[in-house]
């Protein structure tokens, strides 16, 4: 009996190590598959145009050069797009955050008359939307085509953010605080300002992060509503250059032959990818905590 259980234990340990090997291999494959394309883009963007077109870049930059970046930073469209996207992202996030806090706070309070109706109205927007044309006609009839408002105001209310924040308020802030404060004659506004806001920095960070990433990366609204080049956000500029190939490299001088021009255009594209993704990727390690936390909070209530 003793011997048999000892045998089983060894067997179990062996199976466990086999599992560890298996799971480690899965993770390593995942890392390689995800990281390689990203590393390649960065390396290619720092290489010379000949190295990229001749296929000698595999992992690290070959014949390191900054010529692509010089060209990118000299390219007005991209800089304008950058500035516009920064403005839209900051204003849009602030607006969305304000609405989300106000709405989530009211929905988290049990003594708010009409809580269920408003909750349903918010939730329903997640399940059903009117579609492209009705939204477009609304913006058009408001006279908001080619204005910054079309990109900031309509998306201010995001049902997912409201639900996320509401469940945070309900779980992380204790009801006693509200009861004690209202006995002391504290108004609802004061409760929001002095109790809820100071306790909510994690969820405010989460919603800001998701909102900012969403606005910075979206092109659809601007693609529909904006035709004035001076108002293009970065993603629309990128689409024109990267996808539609509207790259005017005559600005960037000394490109004599076709091959050299082609190489340069490939190189510039890689550099543009890096430059345009850089703000988020630089920010990412610092905010990763919140990024994960957001999903955790959301999953409590499902």
């Amino acid at each position: 009996m003793m011997i048999k259980s000892e045998k089983n234990r060894i067997r179990q340990q062996w199976d466990d190590s086999l599992f560890d090997v298996f799971s480690t291999v899965v993770l390593i494959i995942a890392i390689l598959l995800v990281a390689y394309p990203l590393i390649y883009v960065v390396s290619a963007s720092f290489s010379s145009r000949y190295a990229v077109t001749s296929g000698s870049v595999w992992l690290f930059p070959v014949e390191p050069s900054l010529e692509a970046y010089q060209a990118v930073f000299a390219y007005d469209c991209i800089m304008i797009g950058y500035r516009n996207s920064a403005i839209y992202t900051i204003l849009g996030t602030l607006f969305s955050l304000t609405l989300t806090v106000l709405c989530a706070f009211c929905l988290s309070r049990k003594d708010f008359f009409g809580r269920r109706v408003v909750s349903f109205m918010v939730l329903f927007t997640m399940l059903f939307n009117a579609g492209l044309i009705p939204n477009y006609l609304l913006i058009k009839n408001l006279g908001w085509l080619n204005t910054i408002w079309s990109l900031i105001i309509p998306n201010g209310m995001n049902a997912w953010f409201v639900i996320l924040m509401r469940s945070y308020f309900q779980t992380a802030i204790s009801e006693e605080l509200f009861e004690a404060s209202s006995l002391d004659g504290c108004s609802v506004y004061r409760q929001l300002y002095s109790i809820v806001l100071p306790l909510s920095s994690p969820i405010i960070a989460v919603v800001s992060l998701y909102s900012a990433v969403g606005i910075w990366n979206s092109y659809f609204d601007a693609f529909l509503y904006i035709s004035n080049q001076a108002l293009f956000p970065l993603q629309v500029v990128l689409r024109n250059i990267l996808i539609l190939n509207q790259l005017d490299i005559s600005q960037t001088a000394d490109l004599r032959d076709l091959a050299s021009r082609q190489g340069m255009s490939t190189l510039i594209k890689y550099a543009i990818i890096v430059v345009s993704s850089a703000p988020l990727l630089i920010m990412y390690p610092f905010v990763q905590k919140y990024f994960v936390k957001g999903i955790m909070v959301g999953s409590i209530k499902g």
């Binding site: 870049v57 990818i273 993704s277």
Partner: protein, 316 residues
Amino acid sequence: MNVLRQTARPGRALGVIPVRKRLKKSIPYFILIALPLIILLVFKYYPMLGAQIALKDYKVRLGIWDSPWVGLKHFATFFQSTKALTIVLNTLYISVYYLIASFPLPILLAVCLNESRWSKFKKATQMITYMPYFISTVVLVSMILQFTDATNGILNQMLNALGLESVNLMGEISYFRSVYVWTGVWQSTGYASIIYLAALSSVPTELYDAARVDGANKFRRVFSIDLPCIAPTIITLFILNTGSILSVGFEKIYLMQNSINTPVSEVISTYVYKVGLINANFSFSTAVGLMNSIVNLTLLLIVNAISGKISDIRVV
């Protein structure tokens, strides 16, 4: 404390606070929620009224309200058109393919991460696999185009280095769906694994200990503890996903479309955009979009109801 609460709000315990009093107490809330509510009504609900043009012949000079009613004419036109079937099937094909391809991998990743005891390696893996989430659709598609480029692309450079023939992934219709789906998997798997990881972290450790004593190895523990414990999460996400089975997001597929792949890449969302805004056929486009939304909502409710019957898990 209990006594205090009772004396402070005696009516609450009996549930007889009159409506007027409750309304009066809620005034501050009405003031706070006014702005969010206005935005919600104007930008989410007013367009739903605007969707009535699906049943009208929209004329710009008459506007949404005064255009003449035509009933289900546009719906009929769509279903009688030869394109309708192709577009609906394209949409279904791509989204079912995507659902099947993208659903299991985050679970696998989360289980492996959860079992990994080397915490630095675990952190690094999480950090790297979440990263593609931050890449915009435009950048993702341009990476696809660059990598698969027939002459300069790294993919063909690799294939050639291995002595294999070049492939033109974006230039051949048969590859389109796979490219669309697997690049989506590349981008979303890490991000999607977070929610499973969160669910796994709440599995009580006593279960593992008990299983170990009973002689279960790690494979067994995954199948008998981990997966059953996160089943509610899996089902919930599955319900949410089926709600969008008849929709393929516009942003990525539109960017990936070219003249060669449109026979398989034309989906409802891109079609709605093209007939609506490019051909200015507002009513028809709204009808197609509306049909799509209604089907999605119906599907979601059906799956939700079935799941509620079988497993007690409901999303709405």
